[in-house]
Symmetry: C2
Subunit: 154 residues, 2 copies
Amino acid sequence: MTTQQQFYKSLKTLLDKMQLLDQAEMQTKLADFKPAEVHTIQYIGQHIGANVTAIAAGMYVTRGAVSKMTKRLIRRELIEKYQSAENKKEVYFRLTAAGQKVYEQHEAMDRQHDKRDQVVFDSADPKQIAGTLQFLQAYNDHLDHELQRTKQGD
Amino acid sequence: MTTQQQFYKSLKTLLDKMQLLDQAEMQTKLADFKPAEVHTIQYIGQHIGANVTAIAAGMYVTRGAVSKMTKRLIRRELIEKYQSAENKKEVYFRLTAAGQKVYEQHEAMDRQHDKRDQVVFDSADPKQIAGTLQFLQAYNDHLDHELQRTKQGD
DNA sequence: CATATTTTGTTTCTTTGTCAACAAAATTAA
DNA sequence: TTAATTTTGTTGACAAAGAAACAAAATATG
């Protein structure tokens, strides 16, 4: 296996495992809400005033997916939609009080996960961590360019 | 944003972007096959003799998902199922000639992706890459322990 | 300004996966 | 060995996301 393949596999399984752990906890602590609902609430909470297209781009899903999910969250009174006077096409969202509560519960869970994995960061060489972040950033930048290229090139 | 949060976000978006790029290419080069079909063919090609449960564990999906997907691949004559004399309960799979062809096409694509991203590995300090792999491995090991713990603990 | 083009959001249909219930086989316990 | 338990694979109902077609609004172009 090449270094690249090893890197990819490590990355992939790491996230798979995180998701497995997170999901198990979510089912107990936020049982009334589907993972995708919580995920969307989190994104809206962190990006107030984002429209459907922006949320879709940020979450790497289609606008259709966001449209459906926000509709559901509105029905469940976890978010509100609003529009501006200048632009009657775009739709923006904000959390309701109930949504804010879910948001905060999820944030608390996130901090709990950070604590759970703190030992990994504590026992690693700070230089190694910094190097890892730097490498991930470089890879991300490269893929941004590639995505840009495919958008134009085809 | 803490280092951990930064790390997680980088990881997540990196894989999102990879998937975006890969999917676009798959739709042109392996248009007759759905992404999940190709993915399963790849796993079976790399793990000959794996049963449903093993495939599910390896791909981080449920046995139900594997059962349905393998059924479809058998119908499309891309894989074959077989059983052993010793164990009449477990079901194993192997690629047909047609499946092998898809497998090889996908492997070729993978090598192409490696080439596409080679520049990232070439321009990074080898020590940084090694450190990154090491850190990812340490994190993976930690999560394996955590998963073990939750399986016992609840 | 008027028209063509693009952007934005929604909807329908399809794909993919989970969960839970189940039957058959294998394993463990009595 | 027989009975209880666990493992394995399958199925049906349902959840979530993608793709494509569409209408309304905004923007660009002549």
